[in-house]
């Protein structure tokens, strides 16, 4: 039977201790991974595929106890894993794969790659899903695709085509599709899954793979908050002509819905529309995945992947969305339309 594998990022993941302590609050699944799991469940049910939720956990006691083939350690008692298993099963997993690594879990290929490759080699999946906004996706998704020779889909959503016997497929905005009858494997970062509790059996099988961890040639020296702009995958930028309090309030709603950072020029900070540390100086080059620019602002957005402008009348290469003036009308309608989407 075909395997659909969902890589599960954890929002909180303390080190494992083989102590028997099994508090319910030890692990917390990243919400984007929960969306991916929901989509995996929908596809798995439609395609008749087994849905695996795969998670990598750190166990410092593992050193010297592993090889790259992934020793299956079914009986190893792991603190907190039982609660995690229940959560993943409720979210739709048929089976849970726990890869135990001696490397601390960081969103880097050099720390996750060996363990994750072990999972892929073990399961040989037909479809691998990542939450598009999960921290490890940028490092793991494309590499997973390259490893199994798969097609890649970016920010794909699950869609049904037809009536009662609807065909369920994944589709990204470039039009790339993955369907049940396709040959070959696919790897997708996904959005829009609707997590809900499934009433299927919670007696899911847990497979524990002990795998070696970090690449010794790579050393993570420090982690610290990133600078404004660089820190965000999404920004909402306020121009100096968009500082009316009503516009600012709507822009904040938009930023909140997108999980974006609200940025602007020095004047925006001076009038209190943005935080002082969210000032982007004129000419600064930014490269977030998404930028929504409201009004006119002199920053260099050429590195933005998806650029939307509101309240200006311009054209240009690579402009994916444009709402003409006046600012308030276009912005109000946009935020309302976004908030009303299911």
């Amino acid at each position: 039977m075909a395997a659909v594998v969902i890589y599960v990022d954890l929002a909180r993941a303390p080190d494992l201790q083989r102590s028997g302590d099994d508090r319910q609050d030890r692990f917390r699944v990243h919400p984007s991974s929960m969306q991916a799991l929901a989509i995996g469940r929908e596809i798995g049910s439609a395609w008749g595929a087994t849905v695996y939720a795969a998670v990598i956990l750190h166990d410092g006691n593992l050193a010297g106890d592993v090889d790259t083939t992934g020793r299956v350690a079914m009986s190893t008692p792991l603190a907190g894993v039982n609660a995690l298993k229940q959560e993943l099963a409720k979210a739709g997993a048929d089976r849970v794969v726990v890869a135990i690594s001696d490397a601390p879990v960081m969103p880097l290929w050099s720390t996750l790659g060996i363990a994750w490759s072990g999972v892929l080699d073990h399961l040989r999946p037909r479809l691998v899903l990542f939450g598009a906004d999960a921290p490890s996706t940028s490092e793991l998704a494309a590499r997973s695709g390259a490893r199994i020779g798969a097609r890649l889909l970016d920010r794909a959503s699950c869609q049904s085509r037809g009536g009662i016997n609807a065909e369920v497929e994944l589709r990204d905005r470039e039009g790339t599709r993955v369907r049940a009858g396709d040959s070959g494997a696919a790897v997708a970062s996904v959005v829009g899954g609707k997590p809900h509790a499934h009433v299927t059996s919670l007696q899911v099988e847990v497979m524990v793979l002990a795998l070696p961890g970090t690449d010794p040639r790579i050393e993570l020296a420090a982690v610290q908050p990133a600078d404004v702009g660089a820190a965000s995958t999404a920004i909402v930028a306020l121009g100096d002509d968009a500082l009316d309090p009503a516009i600012v309030a709507t822009a904040r709603r938009l930023a909140d819905a997108l999980g974006a950072q609200l940025v602007g020029g020095p004047l925006a900070a001076k009038v209190g529309a943005i935080r002082p540390d969210a000032v982007v100086e004129r000419g600064t080059a930014l490269a977030p995945e998404l930028a929504v620019v409201i009004g006119g602002l002199a920053i260099d957005l050429a590195g933005v992947t998806t650029l939307v402008r509101v309240g200006v009348d311009v054209s240009g290469k690579g402009l994916e969305g444009l709402l003409p003036p006046p600012i308030s009308n276009g912005l109000d309608e946009l935020v309302r339309a976004l908030e009303q989407q299911p």
Partner: protein, 222 residues
């Protein structure tokens, strides 16, 4: 040590600023009798002329792979990996910001060369044997030290450029052929992508909202 700089298979979407930034960083790698820095690009002749011109201005050697193929991330990565093997290069630097599809090529090149990868690198320095990189992930800056080869996806901007001279066809450009790289164009064509029309700018509230919905933050209680 030879360093390969992959500039991609098509010109930047909006600006050559990120291309110049990548070339400027690559130009700081040591060059000498044991290796050098070679910028490479693939695609149509107009793009190769532009890439060659920017590489020359950065003081780097350039090699172009003239091909009409439109490949997916693994197809282009096979070409880069073949050039890297030809030059025994274990460090590859990729301009990741100029086009959205380039980030997947970073991972594919690394997989084919069996190297580690670092995406979203915003600063990079080296002393000949050790590379210090800073990358952005989830609002955090990771300071990372690398000993040995790796594939780096760079998001480092060069100076702002309002206008630049139209590149002229370069007689000095080294041209690489797929067959010379040990690649069969017919086999490589299996990784070809179907031609797609460019997406027009969305100009209605509903269509822009549909686009932004792809980026909506998943709720914590979801």
């Amino acid at each position: 040590m030879t360093v390969i700089v992959w500039l991609g298979s098509a010109p930047p979407v909006r600006t050559i600023r990120w291309l110049d930034g990548t070339l400027a960083v690559a130009a700081t790698f040591p060059r000498g009798h044991r290796g050098g820095v070679i910028a490479i690009a693939a695609g149509d002749p107009t793009w190769l002329d532009l890439a060659s011109d920017r590489a020359r201005r950065a003081g780097l050697d350039f090699a172009g792979v003239d091909t009409e193929l439109q490949l997916d991330y693994l197809g282009w990565a096979q070409i880069v990996a073949a050039v890297a093997r030809l030059h025994h290069a274990t460090t590859v630097v990729v301009d990741e910001a100029s086009r959205a599809d380039r980030i997947a090529e970073v991972a594919a090149i690394a997989e084919l060369l069996e190297l580690t990868q670092l995406t979203s690198v915003v600063a990079l320095a080296h002393d000949g044997t050790v590379v210090d990189a800073s990358r952005i992930a989830g609002g955090k800056a990771h300071a990372i030290r690398i000993r040995g080869g790796a594939v780096f996806g760079l998001r480092i901007a060069g100076p702002a450029i309002e206008d630049y001279p139209t590149p002229m066809p370069s007689a000095s450009m080294k041209r690489l052929d797929l067959v010379d790289l040990g690649l069969d164009p017919n086999v490589l064509a299996h990784r070809a992508l179907p031609a797609r029309n460019p997406v027009a700018t969305r100009r209605s509230t509903e269509r822009v909202a549909d686009l932004l919905a792809l980026y909506r933050r998943p709720r914590d209680d979801a």
